[in-house]
């Protein structure tokens, strides 16, 4: 019987602990009356313009450094174009081929054994609004979240030599927990999965063991707890294996985790390559990071959780 091995990519979005949004002065908070924390900028009104939140850049630089990333000396924002009612401008200001940080890693303990999970990139972007579907087949939009500073952290598959990748649902959960711990130590984000300030969308595929060609992947959404991440990834791996063993084909799609039923279900097809028509945002000047700036941010990074653990073990003989 063919033995399958999983390929698990993690795309994590984290809301930053800034007082104001990524590109305007609107307050950042959770909950509250809809559409009370917005302005021409984050509402996408005619004439609204973005201005970079320096604090957000600082926090993201800090996070990227703590994830051992190289900081780009020059980075720019792109416009990611797509139409959706919760996207105020119908383009999202994001980063494309010049992200803030690249080539880092997150150290995890897989069954007590350390693994360095390769991180491909850390980039900055703005959050979207929120759709509320109400009675009478109507939808409402709340733009309080629109424009909040988001950091996206993406793992690298396959990893470069000397680094590892996530190989099980257990490791996916461990990766997320370690990442959360680091970001909490840095005070970059409060990482509350249930409130959506930390969101995880794993990409999952399986392939016959030893084969280099990747299988068709699916993306899982709506994972609102560490348990859900574990359960969702585990379910999806098993589902895909079952499909293949029965001679079927995995469909490229986004699947939604149903926490009550403990299953993933198809949300939308991703058969067609998405065309986001990225191009550099002319409203935002390039950002330059010199050694002095990076050094100053590096100096703010406290001792990180695993380093502290090792120090305690070494200094106090704890095992």
């Amino acid at each position: 019987m063919v033995e399958y091995e999983p390929v698990i990519g993690m795309e994590v979005h984290v809301e930053l602990l800034t007082k104001s949004k990524m590109f305007c002065g609107c307050e950042v908070a959770f909950g509250g009356a809809p559409n009370t924390r917005c302005c021409p900028g984050c509402l996408g009104l005619p004439g609204g313009l973005p201005v970079v939140n320096e604090k957000a850049v600082e926090l993201m630089t800090k996070a990227a450094l703590a994830l051992h990333c190289e900081i780009a000396p020059r980075t720019i924002f792109h416009r990611k174009n797509y139409f959706y009612p919760d996207l105020a401008k119908n383009y999202q200001v994001s980063q494309f081929d010049k992200p803030l940080g690249e080539n880092g890693y997150v150290e995890i303990l897989a069954g007590g054994k350390p693994k360095k999970i390769a991180v491909r990139r850390v980039h900055m972007e703005e959050d979207t609004g929120k759709l509320l579907h109400v009675e009478g087949n109507r939808s409402l939009v709340d733009f309080n979240r629109s424009g909040m500073a988001l950091m996206e952290i993406v793992t690298m598959n396959p990893p470069p030599p000397g680094f590892d990748q996530i190989e099980s649902a257990e490791e996916a959960r461990e990766y997320l927990q370690r990442l959360r711990q680091i970001l909490l130590y840095l005070e970059v984000s409060d990482c509350r999965m249930e409130e959506g300030s930390m969101r995880c969308e794993p990409n999952i595929s399986i392939k016959p063991k030893g084969q280099t060609k990747l299988g068709t992947k699916t993306e899982i959404k709506n994972l609102n707890s560490f348990r859900a991440v574990y359960m969702g990834v585990d379910f999806e791996l098993k589902r895909q294996e079952k499909v293949l063993r029965e001679g079927g084909k995995v469909v490229q799609e986004t699947r939604r985790w149903d926490d009550d039923r403990g299953v993933t279900a198809s949300m939308r097809s991703k058969e067609h390559a998405e065309e986001y028509r990225y191009y550099p945002d002319p409203d935002l000047s390039p950002m330059l990071f010199d050694e002095e700036y990076v050094g100053r941010i590096q100096a703010q990074i406290p001792e990180l959780p695993l380093d502290r653990l090792r120090r305690f073990m070494a200094d106090y003989g704890i095992s």
């Binding site: 021409p40 009104l45 005619p46 004439g47 313009l49 139409f83 009612p85 383009y91």
Partner: protein, 488 residues
């Protein structure tokens, strides 16, 4: 005198208001009466705001009455292009999409004029979302050239230029993406200025192409231009690309002095598309400046001829996303054919946008797709860089560059209705200043068949003062700017 206040320049009116020879209210009333008398034939305004204007004027009079110091623009009536957001006043961008859009905030330039005590007479016509060169693409109506009502006023800021030329306001604001301030100023025989990119805030100005858009004054003379600039320039924390430079008093540049000035003249700016009489007038203007102590020198701008193509690609690409926000979700007119969200946006855009805007959006969207990005967009950006280098090199040998503002004088309404692409040539001389980000001004320098000819003076990055000084010197030596169209 009192019944012809509207004929005066802003600085003349300012002196009279400050010295209490006239009240701001009388000045405003004079312009409002003028609008009543002539706007039915010129059609410069989409919206007029007479009550608010009189209230603003009264506030200036009250302040003067209390002995408070008021700024130079206090009590001076001005029109604002209708793509600039004005708090509580309909802002349509001359689009069906926004026939119900009343902004909840002021653009920074509108707020700054307001703070300076300027009086807003109303919102002026334009090509829809500033896409065009004649105001014929306005979803409201076409504005007529005050010098000959059969002719276009130019565009896209045609309403602003026509309003100033017809004395329906003392000054106006326009926006210039490829010449949209200078070309209509040239067609209407007034002064139009596009400042260095980043000198004036774009916050609250509906973007067309963010890397090219700049707000600029349209005025009756160069002194007024400096006065309006003083009120609107400066760093704005709401527009991240505004330059952090110290406040300047542009009226200090108004000296009659071109001694030693090196004028660059490029053969590329006098190609076969330039009307012979336009060329004659512009060369005559250069001779005037040489007579005052300037010298002229042939310069080369070899990549200029690709400017229109590069512009067309960049503007299409940028507007395909800046205009994406018009979807009927949050503001503006929403299609009644709602259905689901996608259909609602599609129908809203199908019904709300005019043909010229749609053509640009389709082109821009296509140019960002697949291999077009490298083949067209990247190539256009490279051409832009080459043009920037052309100008950098040219400015090693000269201080300013002189050319016609437009290849021709104003054309007839409907002349290009079968061939809209040909109209793009109207931007042939102006588009480079936007691609490079440098300042450029148009001042009247003659007439052909009763229609004004514009002289374009283009200067170095952040050397807006030299431009103003040269324009002022030329203007003070000639009297083209004093001529007025006979409307009634």
């Amino acid at each position: 005198m009192a019944d012809k206040l509207y004929e005066l320049t802003a600085h003349e009116l300012s002196d009279m208001i400050q010295s209490r020879q006239v009240s701001a209210r009388d000045v405003t009333q004079s312009f409002l009466d003028r609008i009543d008398a002539v706007d039915k034939s010129v059609k410069a305004y989409i919206t007029t705001t007479p009550e608010a204007a009189l209230a603003q004027a009264q506030a200036v009079d009250d302040a003067i009455g209390r002995g408070e110091a008021v700024g130079a623009l206090a009590g001076i009536p001005g029109g604002i292009k209708d793509n600039v957001c004005t708090y509580g006043v309909l802002t349509t961008c001359a689009s069906k999409m926004l026939t119900n859009f009343t902004p909840v905030y002021d653009a920074t330039v509108a707020a700054r004029l307001n703070n300076a005590g300027a009086v807003m007479t109303g919102k002026t016509n334009l090509d829809e979302f500033a896409t065009g060169s004649s105001t014929e693409n306005s979803a409201c109506f076409t504005t007529h050239n005050p010098w000959n009502l059969k002719m276009v006023p130019g565009g896209s800021s045609g309403g602003s230029a026509a309003a100033v030329a017809a004395d329906e306001c003392a000054f106006a604001l326009g926006t210039d993406t490829a010449g949209s301030v200078r070309q209509p100023a040239s067609f209407c025989g007034v002064v139009g200025f596009k400042p260095t990119y980043g000198l004036v805030s774009r916050y609250g100005v509906t973007s067309l192409a963010s890397s090219l858009d700049q707000v600029g004054p349209i005025t009756k003379d160069v002194s007024d231009c400096a006065m309006v600039l003083n009120a609107i320039v400066g760093k704005d924390r709401l527009d991240g690309v505004t330059l952090d430079i110290e406040a300047k008093d542009f009226t200090k540049a108004l000296a009659k002095d071109v001694a030693g000035l090196r004028i660059g003249v490029a053969a590329e700016c006098f190609g076969p598309e330039i009307d012979a009489d336009v060329e004659k007038a512009v060369r005559g203007a250069i001779d005037v400046l040489i007579g005052l102590g300037a010298s002229s020198k042939e310069i080369a701008l070899p990549h200029l001829r690709y400017g229109i193509q590069a512009y067309s690609i960049i503007a299409a690409v940028e507007s395909s996303s800046t205009l994406a926000r018009f979807d009927g979700v949050r503001f503006g007119v929403r299609s009644k054919h709602a259905g689901d969200a996608t259909l609602m946006s599609e129908k809203t855009r199908e019904e709300g946008f005019g043909l010229a805007v749609k053509q640009r959006l389709i082109l821009g969207t296509h140019l960002l797709t697949g291999s077009c990005y490298d083949e067209y967009f990247i190539k256009a950006q490279k051409i832009r860089t080459l043009i920037i280098r052309d100008f950098e090199k040219a400015f090693e040998e000269c201080d300013i560059i002189i050319s016609p503002t437009c290849p021709t004088v104003a054309f007839e309404i409907g002349e290009y209705s079968d061939n809209p692409l040909a109209m793009r040539n109207a931007d042939a001389c102006t588009v480079h200043a936007n691609l490079v980000g440098i300042p450029s001004i148009s001042v009247p320098c003659g007439f052909k068949d009763g229609l004004p000819i514009g002289l374009q003076i283009t200067g170095k990055h952040l050397d807006d003062e030299t431009l103003l000084r040269v324009a002022y010197t030329y203007e003070q030596t000639t009297d083209w700017h004093k001529r007025k169209p006979q409307l009634i």
